[in-house]
């Protein structure tokens, strides 16, 4: 069965073309990926990301359950804060990366598209196994998720709420009314631009919010944005896409997400990570910018002097830089910043330089 967002009809009217992603029929683009990409970098864009999951974590041991099952110590995440983290298997590989929001009595976790049942079951099983008084409840289908992203996102959203958005810090979250509809607002995003994400329930109220944002954003040049530009936008910032970057089982250390690990607490997978850290020989996520024409793609081999040293997990043409860019795993001794490696595209090597992420700097549009 293919699921559709409650906003599907509105998107058809806006001229969207659709693609299937993790069991959902979602807009891939409205005008063109390139145009939509620049709208978000320079103005403001509105995404429907309802395909992402929503899981309530409740009960007196809710924080303990999150701390056990993620690399984060939830007890240090204050009310009104969103936190990026990863959920690991015992062997240290990533089940999913996620954001959880601390909303006072309870937490809302946002696993990736199609991960709602897997994550909910994992959390439920671990709660039971460790005798924790905490409950994980999959409410993914009860929520529409909108992301409003771009330098003008704040100006647009501010016109639709009484709450002063200056008071919401980056990675802050809280309940707020937008266009008269109760939402959970989080000052987060997946584009590297100023932006917000809104969780809306009941879903029947989402179309009104979507329409209000589109209408209010007109003066700022707002456009609806599809999943195509969502991918190029995140790739320019070297943000992970779980299905690509964690494919086949990767640990946070391999994914260079070591900075997200709060070592000072016990969590599932910690032992395996400590062992891996000590060994140190593992491939690591590496960002490559092509110095020759060509576009690296998922699964292209990375070579040095004709020998395989890694594999591309995501690649595209960067609309902002107009060169091929790639994320991939590379042997530790071959990934020094500035090194030139070959990415094999259709049997031909394309030279690419190892760079320090991101590919595109913060507030890129201001520097143009």
């Amino acid at each position: 069965m293919v699921l559709r967002s409650p906003l599907y009809e509105a998107q058809v009217k806006l001229g969207a073309t659709f693609t299937e992603f993790a069991g959902f029929e979602m807009p891939i683009q409205y005008s063109s990926i390139r145009d939509e990409h620049f709208v978000v970098r320079k103005k403001v864009g509105l995404f429907d990301v309802t395909h992402m999951s929503n899981v309530w974590i409740t009960g007196p041991d809710a924080a303990k359950l999150i701390s056990l099952t993620t690399v984060e110590d939830a007890s240090r995440v204050e009310t009104g804060k969103s936190q990026y983290t990863e959920i690991l298997r015992e062997n240290g590989t990533i089940i999913d990366d996620t954001i959880f929001m601390h909303l006072g009595e309870k937490y809302m976790m946002i696993p990736n598209a199609g991960m709602n049942q897997i994550v909910t079951k994992w959390l439920t099983d671990q709660a039971k196994k460790h005798h924790l008084k905490a409950k994980a409840q999959d409410v993914s289908r009860d929520y529409v998720i909108l992301a409003i992203q771009g330098p003008k996102s704040k100006d647009t959203l501010q016109k639709l709420t009484d709450m002063n958005l200056d008071a919401v810090k980056f990675f802050g979250c809280q309940n707020v009314k937008v266009a008269g509809v109760e939402c959970i607002l989080s000052h987060t995003g997946y584009t590297g631009e100023l932006g917000y994400e809104l969780q809306i329930t009941p879903t029947t109220k989402a179309a009104a919010v979507f329409d209000a944002i589109m209408t209010t954003g007109k003066e700022f040049g707002i456009q609806p944005i599809g999943l195509g530009a969502r991918d190029t936008l995140r790739l320019e910032k070297a943000f992970m896409l779980a299905g690509n970057e964690f494919e086949g089982g990767r640990t946070p250390l391999e994914a260079t997400l070591g900075w997200t690990i709060f070592w000072d607490h016990e969590f599932i997978g910690k032992e395996a990570l400590l062992k891996q850290k000590e060994q140190g020989t593992f491939q690591r996520m590496t960002c490559l910018e092509c110095v020759e024409k060509g576009i690296p793609r998922h699964k292209c081999e990375i070579q040095k002097d004709g020998t395989a040293v890694g594999i591309v997990t995501s690649g595209t043409l960067s609309p902002c830089l107009n060169v091929g860019i790639a994320m991939g795993y590379v042997a530790p001794e071959k990934r020094e910043v500035g090194s030139i490696l070959d990415i094999i595209v259709r049997d031909k090597p394309i030279q690419a330089k190892v760079i320090k992420p991101p590919f595109v700097p913060k507030e890129w549009a201001l520097k143009q």
């Binding site: 891939i28 683009q29 063109s32 990926i33 390139r34 990409h37 195509g228 991918d231 190029t232 024409k293 060509g294 576009i295 793609r297 595209t316 043409l317 609309p319 259709r346």
Partner: protein
């Protein structure tokens, strides 16, 4: 199909067009194809002089999101490529039937031309 289909050209089911002039065939992708791809950002052209068989991969056209193969509508030797596309691949989007042509082939077997679709037949694809 709301896209432009020119009566003067021949077509394939896989959305290539062929413009015949004597023994030469100029080849490109149709307006429908460019519209489906959107935002063409890279074209990998073959080398002049290369022999190619009908149905083989002639060149590769990439959009931001996808990689698409263009197939040879007829067999023959490649006599010219549109090297302007190296620097401005988006020409295929703006002018699929004129400035956005891909390759010129010296036709080896004239009989193959008869297997191509005319405009009316292509419109039904």
């Amino acid at each position: 199909m709301t896209n432009e289909v020119r009566d003067s050209l021949k077509y394939t089911k896989t959305h290539e067009w062929v413009k015949l002039a004597g023994t030469k065939a100029k080849i490109g992708i149709t307006d429908h194809a460019q519209h489906e791809l959107t935002d063409i950002v890279f074209v990998e052209l073959p080398t002049v002089g290369k022999e190619i068989k009908k149905g083989e991969e002639l060149c590769v056209v990439e959009s931001v999101k996808s990689v698409s193969e263009v197939y040879a509508p007829v067999s023959g030797k490649i006599t010219a490529v549109n090297s302007k596309l190296d620097d401005s691949p988006e020409t295929i989007n703006s002018s699929p039937y004129d400035d956005g042509w891909l390759v010129e082939i010296e036709i080896k077997d004239k009989a193959e031309v008869n297997t191509l679709l005319d405009a009316a037949a292509y419109k039904k694809v």
